[in-house]
Symmetry: none
Subunit: 219 residues, 2 copies
DNA sequence: TTAAAAAACAGGAATTATCCTATTTCATAA
DNA sequence: TTATGAAATAGGATAATTCCTGTTTTTTAA
């Protein structure tokens, strides 16, 4: 009994996406339903009457990233299994993807047989965790014991706070930032205080360092 | 007269590499000779008796990156045309690749027809430059002129100033920094003022951003 | 040795950032 | 409707930063 399973691919790099589709095309029992360049595009193409079994999901994308899309799927179609695609250098991103509901992850430098294995494990037992990556993630998790609050706090930052942080990583004064966000200076000061407490920091420079370290702002 | 052209692929992401190979396999007139995960691997597989016409080269790789490998090719087999693969957010990397001898570049989110066009242009006229990317690169080139003064200012920082900058990228107050450097607070303030003027910045956060951007401090 | 330049240091003012403790507004679940 | 909690807003105090305009000390070069 080998009924065909359906796969969707979400990645903003066309060459990668199409290449992957071309590879999966030769898998027996698997068929690429469609591919999308962003989470938004993916949701637009999704047909509730005929859902994919597996979604190969990249993390960084314009419009709607892998985190948001995975979370959306968890809330709307929890039976669709998300397999996160990532690179080794994005450990915290992997952790975040799992929290968002990804059922497994494969590295972009995995080989074809591993992808196949990941597929069949996803179908068979519902999840797939590569040993090497798991160990890496565990390592960074235990390594982050001190940073644990930092990490979970990072997850708990809301939109306003993230916007504020980005603006704070500049030479703008809080007064200017308040204007730019259409909020009072006191509200901005409240954001600052909340963030300082959440992230356990005590100065704007510390905030800037944190933001860069965690990719909230790019240098 | 359509004689077959040979292509090699160098990229450390196996899925991307194999996917790309699978895509190119359907191009008429092009054939993937081999693929490699690093520059070192590529050179090891290279047969001087039968060189590829085109090398699709990623930039970031372990062991030997795209820059070094492209330069090596320029010095050893200048007739082999390197087509750089990159993402939009790596402008300076693209410029560096061109300086290393790449004959063209395509973005990873290009589509198949553009890749095909790049191939044929490489064969026909010897180079390929995508308009959008070209414009981006030109932009960042002119921007580099502005950064030049910034850069030379960076060179003119003395030991004390560099020490101060490193300490300033923290939650320490200037008072604490003064103690740590065995200088008076006023001397520290003088360092700060000089640095602000030299680097044309106006706040400690700006200084921290500069320091990270230029590798004075690591995140 | 001496003049010039560079480095260290200072007083004081203005601005910004930080840190308290409240109150008001608003959506939303009971 | 009302209770509840989160988000926004405030006043006011203190600390830190930024920005002036100087003087003193040390180094360097003629």
């Amino acid at each position: 009994m080998s009924d065909t399973k359906y796969v969707a691919i979400v990645d903003d790099h066309t060459l990668f996406r199409k290449g992957l589709a071309s590879l999966i095309a030769v898998f027996p029992d698997y068929k690429v339903m469609f591919d999308a360049s962003t989470g938004k595009d993916f949701i637009a193409q999704l047909n509730p009457k005929k859902l994919p079994d597996i979604v190969l999901m990249d993390i960084s994308m314009p419009e709607m990233d892998g985190f948001a899309t995975t979370e959306w799927l968890k809330n709307n179609y929890p039976d669709v299994k998300v397999l996160a695609l990532s690179t080794m250098d994005a450990e915290t991103a992997i952790i975040k993807m799992i929290k968002c509901g990804a059922k497994g992850y494969v590295l972009k430098d995995a080989d074809l047989s591993e992808l196949k294995l990941a597929f069949s494990e996803l179908i068979r037992v519902g999840f797939y965790y590569n040993d090497i990556v798991s160990r890496k993630v565990m390592q960074s998790l235990t390594q982050l014991v001190d940073d644990k609050s930092e990490l979970s706090a990072f997850m708990n930052l809301n939109e306003n706070e993230l916007t504020f942080i980005k603006l704070a990583c500049s030479e703008k004064t809080y007064q200017q930032i308040a204007k730019e966000m259409f909020k009072s200076e006191k509200t901005i000061d409240g954001y600052r205080a909340d963030i300082f407490q959440k992230l356990n920091i005590s100065s704007r420079v510390g905030l800037a360092m944190f933001a860069i370290k965690h990719g909230i702002v790019k240098v």
